[in-house]
Symmetry: C2
Subunit: 232 residues, 2 copies
DNA sequence: CGAGATTTTGAGAGCCTTCAAAGGCGGTGG
DNA sequence: CCACCGCCTTTGAAGGCTCTCAAAATCTCG
């Protein structure tokens, strides 16, 4: 993203001194728990979700290595979201005071965190527009593209084929659909030759058409970071 | 929110040196325009929205005095959202470099901006969950509660009755519904004695029931700001 | 190999949309 | 001051997208 100075590097590394592992399916933070630490995700993929009182679940975001978790601990006394491991994971917990110190000592890191916030915000608003104004097929296609692109950021070997790592129920909870309907949409995408499936593996057989069907924008691309403050 | 030192105050005031007025309905930023300045909203209410290529619009957020606008200019070369005035407005434009300077000189303001980001993020995820997993009536009720609460933050005189300032079409674009269905939901809320309407004015006649119907959480309440860095 | 989770498929129902048109309201010009 | 016009609200009817319910098929893992 942007080159860090040695002192910035070591400041970030101090956030990652301790480690904690989670099994697939394990819960790191439960909704409404009193907030405590924040985390950096070091290995694996996770998700955040909320439970509504009609019993349904909405998945808010998928998390990948390098993402900061539970940042809302900065602000709220009770966790607004549940954070769950989709695969075996390693996270590094740190205290709010550590965040506070980093902001004071390293304004450029503060700026980078704001950049990160804005990217996340853009991704959230894309999902919002998708849920509000696009049909089921587009929403499912968008999730597939998002997952592939984020997975590819950590593993350059990934091309048009990848292991999704989500159940159809989870895709449904992320897109506001039922698992049954997700299944039908996947089948339709397959019949239209936009994707191919075998096991948990998805292949994009017509990425351009899929991207169009999904209305997809990669929010990690086309950044403009020229404004960042000088490093200290 | 948190007391500011005189030097912090003057730093923020420097962001508000210039002023620009907008008429009701006017556009401050258009989606895909090259990004330039950022703004502080000083007076009036605004909204951000995106247009999808099926022609429909999704309203992402409503903006009130004190909110920062076009923060995505920090990150993207093209504006991801349109920003429009719902009422006559006054905004104060400032440059990205000014933001950069504030972050460097005033870590506590940097921290407060992050707090603000987190609140906005929580509000967005609430909307996401509403669009994905709640029926139309709840979504409309939630918008009503959100607007009343935000309006009340700037005008303590507002109680259970207020002027909404949105057309039913706009409510629809915010909730992912059609104007026609919004109309029916409003009528239903009225028939159930949760609200009363006359002209553009809404009155909450059973706020508790409305809040329950809406699944509403006030994200500006119950903040915990004890961790903020020392002021300089 | 068996149990539970996940995927797949079918049929019917319901929520919300689309299409259409009438009624209100405020503003503008004569 | 009134008529007219555009925008917004309201209402009805029909249709479609997605859900619910149900059950069979397949997969995963102990």
């Amino acid at each position: 993203m942007a080159a860090l100075t040695p002192s910035e590097h070591s400041a970030l590394e101090r956030l990652e001194e301790r480690e904690r592992s989670l099994r697939r399916g394990g819960t790191l933070v439960r909704e409404n728990d009193p907030t405590g630490e924040m985390f950096v995700l070091c290995k694996g993929t996770m998700m955040t979700s909320v439970l509504l009182d009609n019993g349904s679940r909405q998945i808010l975001r998928f998390l990948f290595p390098g993402d900061m978790l539970a940042v809302s601990s900065l602000v709220y006394r009770k966790a607004p979201e549940t954070i769950t491991a989709l695969t075996d994971c390693v996270v590094c917990p740190f205290e709010r005071s550590a965040m506070s110190k980093v902001l004071s000592d390293h304004p450029r890191i503060a700026a980078l965190i704001m950049v990160y916030n804005q990217i996340e915000r853009a991704a959230l608003t894309d999902r919002l527009a998708a849920l509000g104004r696009t049909p089921a097929k587009a929403r499912v296609a968008a999730i597939l593209m998002e997952m592939r692109n984020r997975l590819r950021m950590m593993d350059k070997a990934i091309g048009t084929s990848f292991v999704l790592g989500l159940t159809q129920e989870e895709i449904g909870d992320a897109t506001g659909l039922t698992a049954v309907h997700v299944n039908r949409m996947l089948r339709q995408l397959e019949e239209e030759k936009l994707i191919a499936r075998e096991g948990g593996r998805i292949a994009f057989t017509n990425e351009q058409a899929l991207s169009r069907a999904a209305n997809y924008v990669d929010r990690y691309a086309n950044l403009d970071l020229g404004w960042l403050p000088e490093s200290r």
